[in-house]
Amino acid sequence: MKKIVLSLFIITLVSCKSDNKQVEKKIELEVKSYTYKTLEPILNRQDNKTYIINFWATWCKPCVEELPVFEKIGELYKNKNVEVILVSLDFPNQLETRLIPFIKKHKLRSKVILMTDTDQNTWIPKISEKWSGAIPATLIYNKNSREFYEQSFTIDLLQKELNKFIKTN
């Protein structure tokens, strides 16, 4: 597994009452690359959480449009055993030139990982037989139940689907 770590140094100016003090703060942004073999365990966890796995890419307009929905749900359900994972299908050679700048620009709080496995005909059906390969697409699962959606979501729609899972858990 290729691991790429990008370190970001931001110099933050903190204003105090009487004087200006310069503080150096380090923010680490890490986007790991996955093949199906390494992604599979993330799609099959048997813990008490419900996982929302969204397949997207920075170049996919409807995906980008629905990202705030996943961000919002991730925030709202943070303490309710729900975790959002954004699986990017951006081109592997655009990780640093496109994906990471996008995450920073949009201040994404959900976990983002990069799927780089090119043998799509093998892994797409393993994620869901229902999936044609078009994105956006989303998998929701917990240890008791799983469902795949090749569609876009609104907050209401995602919340409605998510509640079905929370009930079963």
Partner: protein, 203 residues
Amino acid sequence: MKTFKTLFILTIFTIVSAFTLKTSSEGYKIGDTATDFKLKNIDGKMVSMADYKHAKGFIVIFTCNHCPYSIAYEDRIIELDKNYKEKGYSVIAINPNNPEISKGDDFISMQKRAKEKGFTFPYLFDDGQNIYPQYGASRTPHVFLLNKEGKDLKVAYIGAIDNNYSDAEAVTEKYVEDAINALIDGEKPNPNFTKAIGCSIKK
């Protein structure tokens, strides 16, 4: 009474059309007969598969301007057309997107892109978006390989062009080429159906 009768007929009609629509939205399966179309090409002329009198089949590819996966495959689509046109299998590219929603997929942009890349094949606009649902295309690029059997065009392969979108050099399985070669040899393509990531078609 008359109102009741009209209502009854209308209800039946709605039920029947609901089922009919459901069937057509699922699109083609291997072995189905593909419909011909009459769509506007980038040169302004209308193109149908019936225009190709000596065709043995067609490589129908739903693709577009804006999608990075489509762009990644442009050169490979040109190669396919060059290699198989003379063997009777020409590429026909169709842009299925609604340009009002999908920026960069309008007719003028199609003309521009085809010129820039030197497309050797028709690049048609699915005006009104009537053709792609019949085929069952869901993403770009999405290939439907058709083989002429008697008067019919039968769907012989559906799916991806090959097994590596990001690097043409690293491809190990050329699905479409293998499928056409099988047809030329009088065999059935194997695999005849593959999946790949693509941009959803913009309605």
